[in-house]
């Protein structure tokens, strides 16, 4: 029991990877009936004129740095991601992520390139973070503006699409209040970067599962905004996500 308690994160990761492996090995046979249809993807640029809009929903497991939260908590992060294709090689991508007490909405343009099995996206997102948490009888609130210049590359391999995405995280402003007291007001700083790897796998018809592994190397990690006031150092924050294209 002690081993399980202490290795709960590793065990969950193992289960996810076994699931991913299972999907990789067996699901392709089932999906072979669709092999002539182009596989939907949230990461590989697509120009199917019939599909202007596509979206995915998912859950991420995030593990905030223990220095900040002082306990080994993990939290599920709900995520909704949408793409709207525009003429030429442009598209708009939007994203909404929520931890109930922390929420981020982002929107930004993309320019897309693709050739054969390769795809490339360049983009710039503007994000707004809002949060509210009652603690010790006080209403703590936050508002923040962030920018995410990003680049991603994708490769299609049979029924799978693999994508690598990197983004810089630039903070325009962070304002946190505890009651009427302004706890934090900081502007314009480089907040770090993220690196992510996504595996997209068609399971059935147009139902595509996306497994994501993301490392956020940041000072201000918006899901735990309340802890930001005095930690002026970078932390790695892992995120593991499971999403469905809907």
């Amino acid at each position: 029991m002690k081993f399980i308690r202490e290795n709960v994160i590793g065990l969950r990761l193992l289960i996810l990877l076994i699931l991913a492996g299972y999907i990789t090995v067996f699901a392709q046979e089932e999906s072979s009936i669709n092999e002539n249809r182009e596989m939907p993807s949230m990461h590989m640029p697509r120009y199917d004129k019939a599909i202007k809009y596509k979206a995915s929903i998912g859950l991420s497991m995030v593990q905030p740095p223990k220095d900040m939260v002082e306990t080994a908590i993990q939290a599920p992060l709900f995520n909704y991601h949408m793409i709207y294709n525009l003429p030429w090689k442009f598209s708009v991508e939007g994203d909404f992520s929520s931890l109930i007490v922390s929420n981020q909405i982002s929107l930004g343009p993309r320019i897309n390139f693709s050739k054969d099995k390769l795809g490339l996206k360049l983009g710039w997102d503007l994000a707004f973070v809002a949060g509210r948490l009652k603690q010790f009888g006080f209403n703590n609130t936050t508002k923040a503006w962030l920018q995410y210049p990003n680049i991603s590359g994708s490769y299609q391999c049979k029924k799978m699409i693999y994508s690598l995405k990197a983004e810089a995280v630039l903070v325009a402003s962070v304002n946190t209040k505890t009651g009427e007291n302004e706890l934090t007001l900081v502007r314009n700083f480089y907040n770090g970067y993220t690196g992510a790897f996504y595996i997209e796998q068609r399971l059935h018809k147009n139902k595509v599962l996306i497994i994501g592994f993301k490392d956020c190397y940041v000072k201000y990690y918006w899901p735990v905004w309340l802890t930001f006031s005095t930690f002026n150092r970078f932390y790695h924050v892992p995120e593991i996500s499971l999403s469905w294209i809907i």
Binding site: L17, E70, Y162, D215, T230, H236
Partner: protein, 421 residues
């Protein structure tokens, strides 16, 4: 049918594992940089106690970069000379003299981040060294030297010029700079663990005049100091014990658990004995983390240590904390509870009910000057917790009337306290 696994099929998983491996936070330290064999203190003599206060005061800074601000507070503590800056940077310096030249050597550290570096400085004979060594109030003091980054040798110029001594307000007020977690948090990458004897020994270098310690009780009713409710790798090295810490006996904790820098968890009695016997700390706030019959264990230790301090001629205030109504009720079950020195975080009515000598509201309640005045009129002190933001520390010292602040960054409180006019 299982397909044969090919190397190229494993590549995505290798990438995924790589990203996860990178993203797992590795524990790291911010070691104190050492100048080693090149020490400029070799062959010097320690300064006399009468010389030390002559160096204290407010100094103007002139650095090649403006990272230390315009002014620095210079103050001796029990073991070393500390410089405090407005932004959380502090210096810990050792001193010695040879002939009439004073040499200073140590390191600087940014309390809010991981920045650190070496520093070497001197006070020349004609720039105050002669008077200080001979215990005469100097006409001027200029401290010249260099600072560096990381383990690199000092290579950037830094000059401190004496501006003034501490104001009468500062000299005549007993203000408590209370350091959280026994003197400093483990998460702030200090060289010793929070709530350890080693931290009690270290915290005065940060400017602390008192401490808060977190008090818990073992299964066999031994009081010890430790913050979290469980044994975890945030605070302790990996070991055979896990789960709720209060489920273990003292023998088990003492034998198997080591704090993150290798120290033993101290009993409350050992910690207080060290404070009384071996430090200049004058206030201890016992933050009670247990609320069931814990007072019956802790109060006899408090009384014993207060007597020990009196016997040694030390004016140390040791108060049991009341952070919740459960702890309040636990105290009220103790005989003659109104005679027990306590610190109450609840309402002023609760303070009066148990006759606490200190009222300690959370800082976000505001300065509450009217209530603080009421407490002062009743002969009580008022201290607020836990205030860490430099702007708010400055504001509370300028506009508040508290008798002390509890903080994770005592060097910042020290700067804004000692610089007051």
């Amino acid at each position: 049918m299982m397909k044969q696994i090919k190397m190229k099929n494993l590549i995505p998983y290798i990438i995924a594992f790589f990203i996860l491996a990178v993203s797992c936070n590795r524990d790291y330290d911010v070691p104190i940089p050492s100048i080693g064999e090149n020490s400029i203190l070799k062959g010097t003599n320690p300064l006399n106690n009468a010389s030390k206060p002559l160096m204290e005061g407010i100094y103007a800074t002139s650095a090649t970069s403006g990272r230390f601000g315009d002014t620095i507070v210079v103050k001796w503590n029990r073991t070393s000379l500390s410089f405090a800056c407005y932004n959380g940077i502090y210096f810990v310096m050792n001193a010695g003299y040879l002939d009439s030249k004073i040499s200073l050597e140590g390191y600087w550290r940014d309390a809010y981040s991981d920045g650190t570096g070496l520093c070497t400085m001197t006070i020349a004979e004609a720039e105050g060294g002669n008077e200080i060594v001979n215990e005469i109030s100097p006409q001027k003091i200029i401290i010249r030297g260099e600072f560096g980054n990381g383990e690199g040798l000092p290579d950037q110029s830094l000059t401190l010029t004496y501006l003034r001594s501490f104001s009468d307000k500062v000299k005549n007020t007993k203000f408590n700079i209370l350091a959280h977690r026994g003197g400093g948090r483990t998460s702030d990458k200090l060289p010793v663990s929070e709530n350890s004897i080693e931290m009690l020994n270290f915290t005065e270098k940060l400017g602390s005049t008192g401490i808060e310690v977190d008090v818990r009780i073992t299964r066999d009713k031994v009081a010890f100091i430790y913050h979290d409710s469980d044994i975890n790798i945030r605070l302790t090295k990996k070991g055979p014990l896990s789960g709720e810490i209060k489920a273990y006996s003292w023998q088990e904790l003492s034998s198997y658990v080591r704090l993150i820098h290798g120290e033993k968890i101290p009993t409350l009695e050992a910690a207080l004995t060290f404070v009384v016997d071996s430090t200049n700390l004058n206030a201890v706030y016992l933050d009670m983390k247990e609320d069931k019959e814990a007072m019956a264990v802790v109060i006899p230790i408090q009384q014993k240590m207060l007597q020990r301090a009196r016997d040694k001629g030390r004016n140390v205030s040791i108060v049991v904390g009341i952070p919740s109504t459960n702890v309040l009720n636990d105290l009220m079950n103790y005989p003659d509870y109104q005679t027990i020195p306590s610190l109450c975080e609840l309402t002023v009515d609760d303070v009066r009910t148990v006759n606490s000598i200190v009222w300690a509201p959370r800082w976000t309640m505001g300065t509450q000057n009217e209530l603080v005045k009421q407490m002062h009129a009743e002969g009580r002190l008022a201290i607020c917790w836990t205030i860490d933001n430099p702007a708010w520390i400055k504001d509370y010292l300028s506009n508040g009337q508290f008798d002390g602040l509890l903080t994770n960054f005592p060097s910042v409180v020290a700067y804004y306290h000692y610089i007051q006019k």
